[in-house]
């Protein structure tokens, strides 16, 4: 995310504090993709991700007075979204101690029974380990920078760029060539 976008989000949050009913829509449009795919990287389920995204935004609106627009409201929103996703998974499979002592990778093992992701994403998920899949989704679909991902998953940027590059190598070797030819026809 560049500084221009950052400033736009700060401006939108300042407006949001003044009048949530009018200013929420532009703020939502600026941020929804990041929030949605962050939650999806945990839950692997589109419908559940939408519900959790709604909960995250409602929490954000409830705490609006406490958040400083001078700092980084998006960071607060993403942390809220991440916590909502982890809470959801914790309720689904309480036997795993999630996101503690570096066990966050375990989250990926708690796939919901129904996977309604597209066939290409499903194939990618099969080729990458849960952590690689999360980094890949956050970077490509969530359009988050490695620095932003680093603050969310608590890993150094160097580790993330290495993981991402390894993921691309794995996909190059493993993804069915048919996908690539299909994309040429499109």
């Amino acid at each position: 995310m560049n500084e221009e976008e950052n400033e736009a989000i700060r401006k939108a949050s300042r407006e949001l504090k003044k009048d949530p009913d009018v200013a929420f829509a532009p703020f939502y449009e600026l941020t929804k993709k990041r929030v949605y795919f962050l939650i999806y990287s945990f839950t692997h389920d589109y419908a559940i991700s939408e519900d959790l995204m709604q909960n995250a935004y409602v929490s954000f609106l409830e705490n609006l007075k406490k958040i400083s627009c001078q700092l980084n409201p998006l960071s607060y929103l993403l942390s809220t979204a991440r916590n909502k996703a982890i809470d959801y998974l914790r309720k689904q499979k309480p036997e795993y101690e999630l996101d503690k002592d570096g066990n966050s990778e375990l989250v990926g093992r708690n796939d919901p029974d129904e996977d309604d992701s597209g066939p290409l994403l499903k194939e990618i998920k099969g080729l990458l380990n849960p952590f690689e899949f999360r980094v890949y989704i956050l970077h490509v679909l969530g359009e988050l920078t490695f620095k932003e991902i680093s603050s969310l998953v608590k890993r150094p940027v160097g580790t993330l760029t290495y993981t991402y590059s390894e993921s691309i190598d794995k996909l190059q070797k493993g993804v069915n060539p048919l996908w690539m030819s299909n994309s040429k026809k499109r």
């Binding site: 939408e50 995204m53 700092l71 960071s75």
Partner: protein
């Protein structure tokens, strides 16, 4: 990494991704619905209820207060009946008398609740007994507290800390969840902390830090280690304080500019020795600050005092921790 392939597959993935169907209006209406539920239907019922409760409380106080005052004057306090502080011989710091000075009358309030929210959370923790609650709150803290008592050479689990040398060198190693392993070293010279260095190891990478003087007051020496730049959103600060005869170690972890957890250990001195520790631990998950006073009776026997439970005895036996209070026992 093949850049053309990367661009192509990323484009395909973006094209195949599910569109976001939820719109802003749905979320706003969910928010307003929740806000409506929060508003009380009428102010009259809670107002008169509170007025009634207040009247009952005044009557109860008028009856109970004289009785309680009478009882207190007859008995002795729990601090004096069980032990004498001068009998305790457990701390490795007992020879460092000149480094830190301490007066018993300035004792930090032992059971001071640090926030109203914390107190509310404590009362709303139904389901667990007060003893169980106190043990659950103390369990994550027991390792650093015990290692602070035992000093250098004792490593318990993931954390260790202690003094060495005649100038009072303090070293500490701890694992910060989701961050890495932190080691730092502070040296006291002529009664003031003068050097602070640290390292943070995570995923095979080691970052080194030097402490910076944080206080402008020459009578104090406060050092801080800044681990992350505030522009990254997350940062931790470690402080060493030697102020008015009190040694304190504080660790605070922030996430998105909000304090998520903090630990404050104060090693207290009495009669030239360091027999007890005051600890404040804040957790954002429970929104509560827990305060303990921990007295080392022997190397493997400690007494814990909190606001909730009168006295808990903790003994370390055969790699087990046995908590006892009024005939109840919890083993960990």
């Amino acid at each position: 990494m093949d850049e053309q392939f990367e661009k192509k597959i990323n484009k395909d993935v973006q094209a195949s991704a599910h569109p976001i169907t939820k719109n802003a209006a749905d979320i706003l209406s969910a928010y307003h619905e929740k806000e409506q539920k929060k508003k009380p239907s009428s102010y009259k019922a809670p107002f008169y209820g509170a007025l009634g409760a207040l009247a009952c409380a005044v009557v109860a106080l008028a009856v109970l207060l004289p009785t309680t005052i009478k009882k207190q004057t007859e008995g002795t306090s729990s601090l004096t009946e069980d032990y004498s502080l001068s009998d305790v011989e457990v701390s490795p710091l007992k020879n460092d008398q000149d480094v830190l000075g301490y007066e018993l009358t300035t004792l930090y309030p032992l059971v001071k609740p640090l926030s109203t929210k914390g107190r509310l959370a404590a009362y709303s923790g139904a389901g667990l007994s007060l003893f169980e609650e106190a043990v659950a709150a103390y369990e994550p803290l027991q390792a650093p507290i015990r290692s602070t008592f035992l000093g250098k050479g004792e490593v318990l689990g993931v954390e260790s800390g202690g003094y060495s040398g005649s100038y009072g060198t303090y070293s500490n190693k701890m694992v910060l969840p989701d961050v890495g392993e932190l080691f730092f070293n502070a040296v006291s010279s002529r009664g003031r902390w003068s050097v602070l260095t640290g390292e943070l190891a995570a995923d095979g990478e080691v970052r080194r830090f030097e402490g910076a003087q944080r206080s402008t007051d020459a009578s104090k020496s406060i050092f801080g280690l800044k681990l992350f730049g505030s522009d990254e959103g997350d940062y931790s600060i470690v402080e060493q304080k030697e102020n008015q005869g009190r040694f304190a170690f504080t660790f605070q972890l922030y996430d998105s500019y909000q304090l998520t957890s903090s630990l404050n250990l104060r090693l207290m001195r009495a009669n030239g020795k360091y027999p007890f520790i005051l600890v404040n631990a804040f957790s954002s998950a429970a929104y509560e600050t827990t305060t303990f006073k921990v007295l080392a009776v022997e190397t493997n026997l400690y007494s814990l005092y909190t606001s909730k439970v009168s006295k808990i005895s903790l003994s370390y036996e055969n790699s087990q921790r046995i908590y006892k209070n009024n005939g109840s026992t919890i083993t960990k």
